[in-house]
Structures are given as C-alpha cells and as structure tokens.
Amino acid sequence: MHRALRAVAGGVVGTLVLGFFLLVLDTQARGALSVAGVVARFLGVPGRPVLAVALFVALAVVGWPALFVAVEEYLPFGPDPAARGVVFAAVIGIVFVVVGRGAISGPILVLYVGFAMLAHLAYGFALGSVYGRLAR
C-alpha cells in the first residue's frame, strides 16, 4: 500500500482512539471543562466549537499523518513507527495542552493535562502501528 494511504489509514484509527479518550475526558470532567472549547482554542477559532471539532478531525485524519510521513525518518526511537508515532504525537500533545488550556486551572488541571496527553500518546501509537503494520 502506498505510504500516504497507510498514513491516512493510521490517521483514521488514531482519530478514533483520540476521539475516544477526549470524549472520556469530557464526560469524566462532568462539565468542569469542555473539550470542544479546548480544541477551538488550539485551532485558533475560539467560540466556534462545531467548526473546531470538524477541523480537528480533518487535521487528525489527514494533516498529522501527512506530517508524520514527511518527518518519520528523522524521529527518534526508530525503526518502529509506533514508537516514533508516540514521540511525534507527544510534541503535538504538549502544544495542544498548553495552547488549549485557556482558563482551566486548579486541581482539574492535573486531570486535563494527564488525559489530553494520554489521548495524544495513544493517537501516535495507533497512527504509527497501523502505518507500520500495513507495510507488510
């Protein structure tokens, strides 16, 4: 399978995983924070959560995988693409957490940081492992 297709397939699976974790964060937070709001701040479209979520899905399915294919060889902890994917997504996750934070503060910050990072690490792992598996 072509690299780009493999990456997008990885992106789809990864997005499902990412979406699952973020949904868990949203429901577990019980209204104390809104993930859609975080995503909107991250994408620079605050106040427009529906648009933000749509854009975010597109980014996670196509955008990040494309970037991943481009830089894969240069990432650490190769040759396993899953391990590289985790590093890749960790960087994105850190930016996501920082930029998307907004006014979230107090103890819930711990949960927010932990879960948002976990969601991204799982995304990177899924992206990389599907990408690598389809290579055979």
Partner: protein
C-alpha cells in the same frame, strides 16, 4: 484562520526531528537503536499453526488459554476505568473544598471505583491467570468444562456495562444531543452514590434507575464468577494429568481451589440478597425495611458475602507470592504444607467474621465479641504465610528481578495492611476508626499492595509463556519500584488522616488535612504513571520485544524449579523452532 496551536505543533515536530538528526551526527546511538529493534511479523515471517483468524477466533474460542487472555484484557480495561476514577478522586481531594466537582460526583466516583475494582478487575484477573495456567500446572488438557468457561467469561462484559451504564449513557447522550437527538433514558441514568456496600435504606430510597441496572449487573457477574469457580474446582479435582497426584498439586492451584470454594458459598448469596433488594426497590416488598427484616438484615447478608469476597481476591495473590518468591530465592517454599493448611483455614474462617464490619451498628455485644475473636484468629494463618515467605528468603540466593521486587514489596505492604487490620478487629478500636480514612488506608495496603502488585508480578513472571517474547526488564523494575514507593505514600497518609479522625467518603475536608491529602494524591499519581509504564511495556513488547528461544528464561533449571508450565513452554518452543532448524527469524 487556523491559529497558533497548529503552527506551533508543526514547528515542535520539526524541531524534534532536527534535534534527533543533530544528536545522531554526534553519535547518540540510543535514539536509533543499533540492534534495529524487532518489528512484528517482518519479511520472512513464517506463520505457525493458527486457529480461526481474527475476531471470530476470540468470539468463539473455548481454549482455556484464549479465555484466560480474554479475562486478562477485560480485567485490564476495568482496572484502567476504575483507576481513572481513583485519579479523579485524588484530584478532587487536592483541595479542601469540593471545588472540582460536586460532592454528588465524588459519591458516584467512590461507588463506581469500588465496584469496578472488586468485581470487574480483581476477580476476573485472577480467573484469567487461573484459566491460562491451572491446566498447564496440573497437566490437564483444558479446563473441565470449556464451553461453560466461555459462557462464564462472556457474561462479564454485559455485566460491566449494566453496572456502569451511567457513564456510557452520559457520553452517548452528549454525542446524540449535539446532532439534535434526545433520548430521555440517557439523561436519568446517573452513577449510583450508595457506596459499593449499597446499604439500605439509602439504596432502596434512591430513585436513580441506574441502581437497578447495577444490581442486575452484580447478579450477572455473580453467576459468571460462580460458573468459573465450579470449573476450577472440577478441573483441580478431576482433570489432573497422570503424574499429578494430590501430593504434588502446586501452591497456586491450591489457592485457586480454595478461592473457588469460597466463591461457591459467597456469590450465590450475594445474588439472592441483590434480588431481594431489587424487589424492595420495584415491587414493594419489605425485606430491608424497618417493617420487614430491617436495614441490618442487608448488612448481614451483604457482609456474609462481602468479607469472603476480600479473601476470594486475597488468596490467589498469596498463591502467586508462594509461587514466585521461591523461584528467585533459589529455595523451595518453606513449609509448603502449612501454607496449604493456612490457605484452607482462611477459606473456612472467612465465613465466620462478617460482623466485624458491623461493630458500630448496635448488634448484641455478645455476638460482637465472638466475631472479634474469630477475626483475631484469622490473623494467625495469615501470619503463618508471612513467616514462611520470610523463611523462604532467609539465606536464599535472592535475584531482584521485577517479579521478585514486586513479591518482596507485596509481603511488606501486606504486613502493614494485615497489622492495621488486626487493630480494626478489636472492637474498642474499631468503634473509633470505623468509617474513617484509616479503614480505606488499611484495605488499600492489601488491595493495591499485595493483590494488584502480585498481578503485576505474575504478568512479568509469565509474560514469555503468554507472548513468546520478553519485555523491557529495566523498565519493569522501575515500574515495580514506583508502585512499591507509591503505596505507602498514598495509603500511609490515609492511615494517618484516619487516625486523626478524618471520615471516609467525603469530597471536602477540614483545611488542616490539606498537606497530607496532597501527599496522598502525589503518591497516587506515581502509582498511576507506573501503571501506564506497565501498559506500554506489555503492549510494545508484545509487538517488538525480543523473541524468547530458550524456555528457561529465569534460570530455573539450575535450582531444580523448572516447573510444569515452563516445561510445557519448552515443548512449544521446540515444536515451533525445530521445524525450521532455528533459522527463522521474525
């Protein structure tokens, strides 16, 4: 229009890529592993005998090893779910006010945490280990009733879903409402706030229909557990291989046998008690109302199940200590027979102590006193075990592998958990400590200490047999150390707070406890990070860990401890690699 976040992320990724290249030119080899790693499958990947491929295999399997793995995966999912709730509680408790969530949410959290951990994590994981290894240890072809075995497992996922419907209903309702669909039932299902003990009259007066679903889920899980227990008993009694007489049944099988015996008497009782509560809630009966049996009746029935339940999950953990500890001490288990006797004794005595949970309810003082004596007596067989473990290590050739570190840590945490428990068994002390954080600290030293830690130890000890690969042992030792350090920090603080009088099951607390609470939370996060490291190690090693070629992973032949499950593994490896003359690589 796409804002700074995305650009920053792209820049960050590029920076890491560039940095890595730079370090590589400087010869930093760790970032690109010289051994090249071991990708799964790979070019020459020879497929060996396969069962039904893919999903269908897992849905239809009756092989004890597959079912064992299903149990283990299920238990892990439940542990992560219940663990998330533990982390949420510790987050809420960082500040004295209930300012992250409401007090009601906190009530929901400890209820679902407790139920998930006990019924859907601890019991299934031990049943999974038992399913995988008991037939191997007993030289049996399979479990006695393979189909019942599969049915027993497959009742658990729906049971979990019933018991925990609140959260998925919430999530589903949220998704559907964004696209404009509204289903009323999804709005009324909230996590129950009764505590895992479901005490009447609160549990009967609560209108939340999720309580009914929870009761049904518990009932289903009880049936599943009983089926599994029957299977274990018949397997040990009737399916042993030719060379395995009663005289050389191994210690883990003995503990699974005892546990299953306890299950057989405890879980059906829970099932009946729960049905009576359902009737009280929905059909106007008065089993647990003042007009009928009274709320105390529920407590008696619940704890007649509840106390044995804690031994149901404790005994297999002791079996694992008795199995693993001697292997890395280079010595036979000291006093094997006494450990077996003490296990059986605990199994029987566990049914005679239930009212120690009810010392403060105003039951007859003479009844109370007799329960105090039995509760103190049950400490003796436990102490026998500890004595035997210590004697096994004494003068032994200790090898501090990850499973051994966890075993030693388990003995340590169990001593603290056990001794604090003896104090609670004394009526005058319990009257003061009842319903304080002291109790929560006490039982977590056992439940997170020896029980969860021995599960981790078993996963490290037998990992090669299950996956045919080895994991990152250094990471495993780090994880073991983090967990062992986290337990006393977290639960020791709870002991202290409880001794100072802080009650349990509250989202808020007086400000003077803030520091201790924060220490406890930090310890909990350390355990949480450790759990993630474990998960990473298990998953990643399953994919790319080095293949095991020599079945004697732990050098057990040297000390004559190459037991039956390893011998089985050796045969498997011989079969797998003999065909290609050991040439095939991944």
């Amino acid at each position: 229009m796409i804002g700074g976040g995305v650009v920053l992320a792209v820049l960050g990724v590029l920076l890491v890529a560039l940095g890595t290249q730079f370090l590589r030119t400087k010869g930093w080899s760790a970032l690109a592993r010289p051994d090249g790693g071991y990708l799964p499958g790979g070019e020459t990947g020879v497929q060996h005998e396969e069962k039904q491929a893919g999903l269908l295999r897992w849905l239809t399997t009756v092989d004890h090893k597959d079912i064992g793995i299903l149990y283990l995966v299920f238990g892990t999912v439940a542990a992560l779910w219940g663990g998330t709730e533990a982390m949420m509680m510790r987050t809420e408790l960082l500040t004295p006010q209930a300012d992250v969530w409401t007090a009601a949410t906190y009530n929901g959290l400890f209820t679902t945490h407790g139920i998930t951990m006990l019924f859907f994590f601890a019991t299934p994981v031990f049943f999974g280990i038992g399913n995988y290894f008991l037939p191997l240890l007993l030289d049996a072809d399979d479990m006695a009733f393979p189909r019942i075995n599969a049915i027993g497992f497959w009742m658990l996922p729906p049971a979990l879903l019933l018991a925990r419907a609140g959260l998925p209903a919430d999530a589903l309702g949220k998704i559907l409402s964004t696209v404009g669909i509204h289903i009323p039932i999804l709005d009324v299902l909230h996590p129950p706030e009764t505590g895992w003990t479901l005490y009447a009259p609160l549990s009967i007066q609560t209108t939340n229909p999720q309580v009914d679903l929870l009761l049904l889920g518990l009932h289903l899980s009880g049936i599943a557990t009983t089926l599994g227990a029957i299977n274990f008993i018949v397997t040990v009694v009737a399916e042993r291989g030719e060379g395995v007489g009663w005289d050389n049944v191994d210690i883990f099988s003995w503990t699974m046998l005892s546990t299953s015996g306890v299950v057989l008497f405890a879980f059906p009782l829970l099932g009946s008690a729960v049905i009576m509560m359902l009737l009280d809630r929905n059909f106007g009966t008065t089993f647990y109302l003042v007009e009928g049996g009274g709320p105390i009746l529920w407590q008696h029935l619940f704890w007649f199940f509840g106390h044995p339940e804690v031994y149901i999950i404790f005994l297999p953990a002791t079996g694992l200590v008795s199995t693993i500890l001697p292997k890395f001490s280079g010595r036979r288990l000291f006093g094997f027979r006494f450990i077996v006797y003490s296990t059986l004794a605990i199994g029987v005595l566990s049914f005679g102590v239930w009212a120690h949970h009810m010392f403060t309810t105003g039951i007859d003082p003479r009844v109370r006193a007799s329960f105090m004596f039995v509760s103190l007596a049950i400490a003796v067989p436990s102490a026998v075990k500890v004595f035997n473990w210590l004697s096994t290590m004494y003068d032994g050739r200790i090898r501090l592998t990850a499973p051994m570190i966890l075993s030693v840590g388990s003995v340590g945490t169990f001593i603290i958990g056990g001794v604090t428990g003896v104090f609670l068994a004394a009526i005058p002390i319990d009257l003061i400590y009842h319903d304080t954080q002291y109790v929560v600290g006490h039982f977590h030293f056992i439940i997170m200490g020896i029980i969860a830690m021995m599960m981790l130890a078993a996963s490290y000890y037998w990992y090669p047999i299950i996956t045919g690969r080895m994991y990152d042992q250094r990471l495993a030792r780090l994880q073991a150390a983090l967990t062992i350090a986290g337990v006393p920090v977290t639960f020791g603080s709870m002991l202290v707070m409880g001794a100072l009088g802080l009650p349990r099951r509250y989202a808020d607390y007086p400000t003077q406890f803030a520091t201790l609470q924060q220490v406890a939370s930090v310890g909990a996060f350390v355990i949480g990070v450790g759990a993630l490291l474990w998960l990473w190690n298990m998953v990643q090693s399953y994919r790319v860990g080095p293949r095991v070629r020599d079945a004697d992973v732990w050098n057990l032949k040297e000390s004559g401890q190459f037991t039956r499950e390893w011998q089985w593994f050796e045969e498997q490896l011989d079969e797998r690699y003999a065909a290609d003359g050991g040439e095939t690589d991944d």
